[in-house]
Symmetry: C2
Subunit: 489 residues, 2 copies
């Protein structure tokens, strides 16, 4: 079938063709199907999108990727055919049948994900396959290699260290404190973080409230040359683009299959060349994993670290409640600053956990002798050296520490009865903070006055909700009554 090209000047990130609904019906294709576009002897495979209104039945709107590849001009004619899917689709089918994939096969899938040759539903089938069938350590190894090989890598010299939490705990913003302490002690810490997926804020969202977090890898080299540490968003660096894409599809259903969790974390560490890695696995009620799952993860992390020759340690931590007082980007950066400044009202649970993580890293890397990491970490924090380092990094990332304004609409929530706090649900707290506008609205979130086992009196403040919109505040209050994130006995 021949269609006339209509050019609309848009870059879609991959070859996309928009067909008129009637034309798509006639050819028998639908959204996310593939067609091949042929002009003279050139051919390109494109994903189908369908619309009406912007084009006529005998027209085709093509993205810039196609215009360039086929050197198209307005009113050119294209010959359209249904295209067979790439071989990697057969391999996804194979995995969905629970058959193991070889190194070459996994590489094919990952390559096609990176070059956008696989569509979102096809990647969803891949994720389902991993979820339902699992993967052997061998397959996970191949997956990690494929993810690293198809992305950019940073090559840094020296003791490159990283700390990573598997997530699930509200607040818990230890990274900026750990990075500041450890890089003060001489470790190189190219910390790349994600944005929030289901939580109120990711480290990248939090740092973004005081500095830029999106850099190209050449910009990042410059920053690292200066400060030996950074706290940036991993997404713009192209370190593990396959992983970013897979995570995007996983989060639609909040899936997090273990093989993918392992490969995601390790691929990102390998691509920044980390040779010392500390993994924080919070477990417990309302955390991401149970103690049993945490132990199984630890075992697999250790196995894989031997395969890839990384010095890796996992620590299991208490993930049964939020850590720190602030939940939401600016609220969390305020917690971080009060620890770094050693203010009297700083959240001690956040400080304690950060010192623990830092002390492990310092001992692993030989910056402190065995048993002396905590002492060194405390010294660096209390002396103000960590805070200086933090400011240095923020400045290098084009930021400053003014203007930490919370949402102008706020509401205190008080206890309905006296008693002891027996539950603070991470998931519910994160959910409410998101309703309030976090992480997009930097000043939105929740301030927590109490932690587990604290005594509380009737009418005493439990929480303050902050939002940048009155409507969101009202909505969060409505949900608060429904889901009750805090229990008092």
């Amino acid at each position: 079938m021949k269609l006339k090209v209509k050019i609309l000047k848009f870059v879609a990130g991959r070859p996309v063709s928009i067909l008129h609904k009637k034309t798509a019906d006639k050819i028998g294709v639908n959204i996310d199907d593939r067609i091949s576009l042929n002009k003279n002897k050139k051919r390109i495979i494109s994903v189908v999108d369908i619309a009406r209104g912007i084009l006529k039945e005998d027209e085709i709107v093509v993205s810039d990727e196609i215009v360039k590849a086929l050197q198209l001009k307005k009113n050119d004619f294209l010959d359209i055919n249904i295209a067979p899917h790439p071989e990697s689709v057969e391999l996804i089918y194979k995995k969905l049948m629970c058959k193991p994939l070889s190194e070459t096969e996994l590489k094919k899938i990952i390559k096609d994900i990176v070059k956008n040759a696989l569509t979102e539903p096809e990647i969803a089938y891949f994720v389902s396959a991993i979820y339902k069938c699992g993967m052997s350590i061998q397959e996970i190894k191949y997956l990690i290699k494929a993810i690293v090989d198809t992305g950019e890598t940073l090559r840094l010299k020296g003791k490159v260290a990283d700390k990573h939490s598997i997530g699930g705990v509200a607040g818990n913003r230890t990274t900026p404190i750990v990075v500041s302490i450890c890089s003060s002690a001489g470790l190189i810490m190219p910390k790349t973080s994600s944005r929030a997926i289901t939580s109120a804020a990711g480290t990248a969202d939090v740092i973004e409230s005081v500095a830029k977090v999106e850099f190209s890898s050449s910009q990042l080299y410059k920053i690292l040359k200066k400060t030996k540490a950074c706290m940036v968003w991993g997404g713009s660096l192209g370190l593990a683009p396959a992983d970013d894409k897979i995570i995007q599809i996983e989060r639609l259903l909040n899936l997090d299959p273990e093989p993918q969790l392992l490969s995601s974390i390790l691929a990102k560490k390998l691509s920044v060349n980390s040779n010392y890695v500390l993994i924080d696995i919070p477990y417990g009620k309302s955390a991401k994993v149970s103690r049993k799952k945490a132990l199984s993860l630890k075992k697999k992390f250790e196995k894989l670290s031997k395969i890839f020759n990384i010095n890796l340690k996992c620590i299991l931590t208490d993930g049964s409640q939020p850590i720190g007082n602030g939940i939401g980007p600016i609220l969390e950066i305020r917690d971080v600053l009060s620890v770094l400044k050693q203010s009297p009202e700083r959240p001690l649970d956040l400080e304690k956990k950060s010192l623990k993580l830092a002390s492990f890293l310092l001992e692993m890397t030989g910056k402190a002798k065995k048993g002396q990491g905590m002492e060194l970490a405390k010294k660096i924090l209390q002396s103000g050296k960590a805070f200086s380092k933090f400011k240095e990094i923020i400045k290098a990332q084009g930021g400053h520490l003014n203007n930490l304004k919370l949402g102008e609409f706020f509401q205190d929530i008080v206890a309905k009865k006296s008693g002891k706090v027996i539950e603070i649900d991470n998931k519910k707290i994160n959910f409410l903070a998101r309703i309030l506008g976090s992480p997009t609205d930097k000043g939105a979130g929740i301030y927590l006055y109490k932690h587990l086992k604290d005594n509380v009196k009737r009418k005493e403040k439990l929480l303050t909700f902050y939002s940048e919109s009155e409507r969101k505040l009202r909505e969060a209050l409505k949900f608060y009554k429904k889901i009750k994130p805090i229990k008092i006995s």
Copy 2:
């Protein structure tokens, strides 16, 4: 976050918002994520698409569905938030954990599929869940009810009959012959068919080479009033829109989970009010199912037919090779016509199977006494009544039988050695016909001179390839050498 509305006048079939890549990164959303768009007190949930070039960072392009719902004008501002996913996503997750779904829960999923509230990858997760976990007869019952309830239905009086093949056999165009015979005998046959999914042509594609197949349900009523039978494409009638959408996602991976196959077929029969249904289950090498699977399907069809109170019969037929000589829309309609016209060179295998299917339907419906269906079917076919009926239907669907032109580029393929034909692979034949341009190019396809167990001499013709493009012909010839669809011993 506030963004300025840019109107581009396009209907996407559901609310779609295009964000600038940088803005999407900032909010932390990606293709197929959901955002809520708020203006004054109105709100709508939209799926995200991402582009650059057609819009600036502070702009948002919205589809007509959104313009209408929020009554937007150019340069209006919209407040954008990340939106939670609909409850049906949790239910898909539940099914992926292999937990059974209730009637209400399945209805929620199906409703959201119909109103486009679920994205393609989410539906892929649903399909994976059904594929990996299966469904009880109870769940399949709920699924069928939900699919029927969310679509249009035809209410026809009298003995409404249908025949359906589960597919997989190349050629096999029995439907036009069976419909012509049985409606000549007085049965009402509102036959809706699909287009090809992986085969060379579906019944809708074949009929489309001589008549229109896309009608609204009111147009269809008019046709049926006149002729008591039709052969149309089911897709434009909105009979089971959820099923159409699920099939679209299944075919990305060529999945066809049994519960979905059962519900798809029965939902479509229920929605046209068929009270007599004959199901053809071809089995064997290179067919869709093995004999074992065919028997299991038969059992389940029969169980479900009791639940829904339909008079249903399954027959298992030989699906180990193509049926008829033509593979491709015009080639297949030529076969059909030669049977209806009783030409001497008609394909007898196609005639025999069509008569068998027709005889079963005539007996099931009481149009013939037990054991006398074949006689009646033959009489109707040989007398020319079936052919008259066929012409009547084609005319009512705005068609005619002239102009059955095959592709102008063709090539004979001859046997390399003498011997007996021991294999003709359905899948490979279908694949080659598609490469040749079928079903989009109506005149493209394959003519088969031999069937299983036929003797063949060296250099005797085995096949003729037809195509409307020289390039496609060359490509098919290249593939032919690689995949060898016919074996001679």
